[in-house]
């Protein structure tokens, strides 16, 4: 049963080499009736999602990076009339039923962009490793220093934006530096933002996917260099 009022909410999911987690994420997003655009960023095994109502699939013929995949999905959604956009991870770390809470400040016109936080009050980081937590907290500090924004979770892929905000922001950093770039643009363009506590679930699957030391190093580097795009 799909709610018709959510057709104008577009969930943008960048995807790279995701397996079954993508399918179950799409299952979660189906009942509320959101429009969904999955952007397959040149996965070795192309994402096969079957034919699902409300779900669009785009493919980058070459791997460009998560930032590029997000921007592609955002462009597509805006082109198709999205009123609200939600960026969402493909690996099952985010919870679909927290989307309404992310949209509420936008609907109330308290902000043009909401940023999910797992570290702010009310946020949860389930099964996070100490290394990951330490890296992200340090990245947050560095990002605060370089963008001036008092954000508690700078590398959270769960965000919601109004159509207007989506049209003002432009992600040109194709790879992981896009997270810092988004914050840098929010600061520079003075976009009204609000942080919303969300849950981030670390499963064995998602942990195995992204826990290299090089990740930590790159995240910290890009957070410090926030203003350099």
């Amino acid at each position: 049963m799909r709610t018709s009022e959510n057709h104008d909410v577009w969930v943008v999911i960048p995807s790279f080499n995701e397996g079954e987690s993508l399918g179950s994420v799409l299952d979660q997003l189906a009942p509320p009736g959101y429009s969904v655009v999955v952007v397959d960023d040149g996965s070795r095994v192309p994402a096969m999602i079957g034919s699902r109502p409300g779900v669009h699939l785009l493919r980058h013929c070459v791997n460009l990076g998560q930032g590029a995949a997000l921007q592609t999905g955002i462009d597509y959604a805006v082109e198709r009339g999205a009123h609200y956009l939600v960026t969402f991870d493909a690996d099952g770390q985010h919870l679909a039923d927290e989307i309404p809470a992310m949209l509420q400040p936008l609907r109330d016109d308290r902000a043009e962009i909401t940023l999910g936080t797992r570290f702010g009050s009310g946020g949860k980081a389930v099964n996070i490793t100490r290394q990951r937590k330490a890296t992200l907290k340090l990245a947050t500090l560095l990002s605060r220093f370089s963008t001036g924004l008092r954000i508690t979770d700078t590398h959270n892929g769960f965000r919601a934006l109004t159509r207007h905000a989506a049209q003002r922001l432009r992600i040109t950093q194709d790879r992981m530096a896009h997270a810092s770039q988004i914050l840098e643009q929010i600061a520079r363009l003075e976009v009204r933002y609000v942080e919303v506590p969300v849950t981030v679930r670390y499963t064995a699957y998602s942990v195995a996917k992204g826990q290299r030391i090089s990740d930590a190093f790159n995240i910290l580097w890009e957070s410090a260099a926030g203003r350099i795009s």
Binding site: M48, P53, G54, A68
Partner: protein, 114 residues
């Protein structure tokens, strides 16, 4: 005339022609290339010119001066190359994005048969 001089001159001539033939050449680039070629040739041909130049600017040896200038020119060129690469990368992204949107698979469409 030391042996190194015709060798370097020949090398410079080759570089100059390669540059003209294969690399971007706006008017500015051509002028820069010509100036570089002439200066470099002068340094090679006129005996001890680098040595005298070095003394004028307080550097001990001509070789050292050449090295410093080379280091600067190289760094500059590295930065130029990086910015060119970035531009190419951005163009690539735009093309891949355009293709992705054009070939979008809309809902309720069967997967293309492989």
């Amino acid at each position: 005339m030391r042996l190194i001089q015709p060798i370097l001159l020949a090398a410079l001539l080759c570089l100059f022609f390669v540059y003209l033939r294969f690399l971007r050449s706006t008017l500015r680039d051509r002028v820069l290339a010509l100036i570089f070629f002439l200066l470099a040739s002068a340094a090679v041909v006129v005996p001890d010119s680098t040595q005298r130049l070095a003394h004028m600017v307080g550097v001990g040896r001509g070789t050292d001066l050449t090295f410093y200038l080379f280091a600067v020119a190289f760094s500059f060129s590295a930065v130029l190359t990086y910015s060119r690469l970035s531009r190419v990368s951005r163009s690539l992204t735009e093309v891949v994005r355009r293709i992705a949107i054009l070939e979008a698979q809309r809902p309720n469409q069967p997967e293309p048969a492989e």
